[in-house]
Amino acid sequence: MEHVCELTGICKQYRSRKTVHEVLHDVSMTLDAGEVFGFIGPNGAGKTTLLRIMCGLAHPTKGKVKVLGTDLTVRNAQLPTGIGVLVEYPSFIPELTGRRNLQLLASIRGVIGLPEVDATMELMGLDPGNKTPAGRYSLGMRQRLGLAQAIMEKPRLLLLDEPTNGLDPQGVAELRSYIRHLADQGVAVFLASHLLNEVEQVCDRVAIVKQGHVLRQMSKNDPVPYRGFSLQVSDAKDWSLVQQWAAQHQATLSQKDGVQGGMVGTAVPVPAALRDLIQAGASIESITPDRDTLETTFLQAIQEETK
């Protein structure tokens, strides 16, 4: 099956009179239909540049870009149809209403009409009858309008750059479920962000990038190393039961200062350990598996790169 998007060895350099500044270095990735790919990195990592290359606005210095069957490496290439783009801090004609802005944008491709524009606005929580000019929209409303223009023509590839900028928590949760919904319908989603939690919850695969270098690529199906769990119990009696359990299972125990809890290093899975402890009469306040999160992986990758 052909990938929706295929990048091979992408390098992007900007030359000034004296220096060559490399924004992207040997970036390779594929994106399939129905997949959400997260591209995470600190500011200046090259996320936006890659997004611009993927939608045909910029050309790579080296490497090959194929998007929706079109080779965008060729400078004169026709651009593929079926891409929806949301840039960071989207901007519209400030004097026109949100609806009029979307209507004008939709007319360029001419595949949808006003009813679809209105439906998309409502889906994004915007009122199509609102007569306020887009220039007076709040940051969150502008972001919703930006998302509406990106999805209104039902793209096959959705490129999102920091899509949750300015959204309230409810908006973020709605967006997350909507991205998953789109992916389930076969849309390929490329999500550039520096918000790890947001990426972790919604993406199938993730690339960690720093200064144009992809440090690590991970899939949510990759096995995650399990090191034990952290737990908190009600009182000292319960903690002594935990110590007994640890001694029986050759688990390491490190208690946190001032609390009846700590880290338990063991290969015993959490459900089994929890069952044993409850049967032993321990009162458990909380228990959390000690696994690598995206945040720990990200920080580890960045630290390794710095060394």
Binding site: V87, Y89, E95, L96
Partner: protein
Amino acid sequence: MFCMMRYQCSRLFSSKRWLFVLVIDAFLAVAVVLDRKGTVSYLLTKYYIAAPANIWDVPVQMLCADIMMIFILVTAFVFLVGDAFLRDERTGRLPMLVSRTRNRATWFVSLIPALFLAAVAFVGAAVVISLGVALLFLPVGWSFSPFLTSTINQVKSLRPFYFLPNMPLSPPLFFAGLIGYLAPALCGIALLSVAISIWWRQTAAVFIPVVWILMVDMSLRGEVMRSSPGGGRFFFSTQLMLIEHWQWADSKITAALYPFPVAASVIVFGILCVIWSALGYFSARYVDL
């Protein structure tokens, strides 16, 4: 393509900058009115010559006779539309627009007619505003004023440009022609501004053509005209002034500008539009946007 042009027009015409530019037009018109009233009164008190002005004097002075006023209007037009690319690039509108087309250059090609329409609207608005301001101070006339058409030497010496005593066109037709004359010139300058800004993404880049006209074209023109008045016709700043085409029409010493009639200037503006359009087209197609 047509819809993209409609988007470009909506964007250009809905800008609030028009208000600022139209206020400048009104101020220039007031300056002309005050100057003209003073001159007419001077002629009457000093020479007892009655050569009254009327409302048509104001747009003639503003749009086809006074190079500094024309220069201010050119600058205002570039301020209005010249940063079309930079605005789209900086606000992130470019990816939204380009991703909806099959060709990166569509954005620029659709801008060409939009800029031309903006130039027509701009000159038309300047004529209307100058007439509106003039109506407050000067009498209405149905033909060009005695001040413009007088052949008396004292009047001619106070009128720094030559105006055909028997102008064959009625004022409305004359100004319709003026719009058709200046619009391609302004459109050409704006196209060059946009094309340059694709390469050099600084606000200063937008004003390079204006600086060129002021610093290079106008100073060279001044030097050349000192030795050969007719030589001024080879400069863009001369071509911008419609009245210059008649400036030497009755001179016995200097050849008239008829080797460069009005039509020739329009052709020159048209050729420049084509050249800058081609430059912009290939820039939009091959340069990173």
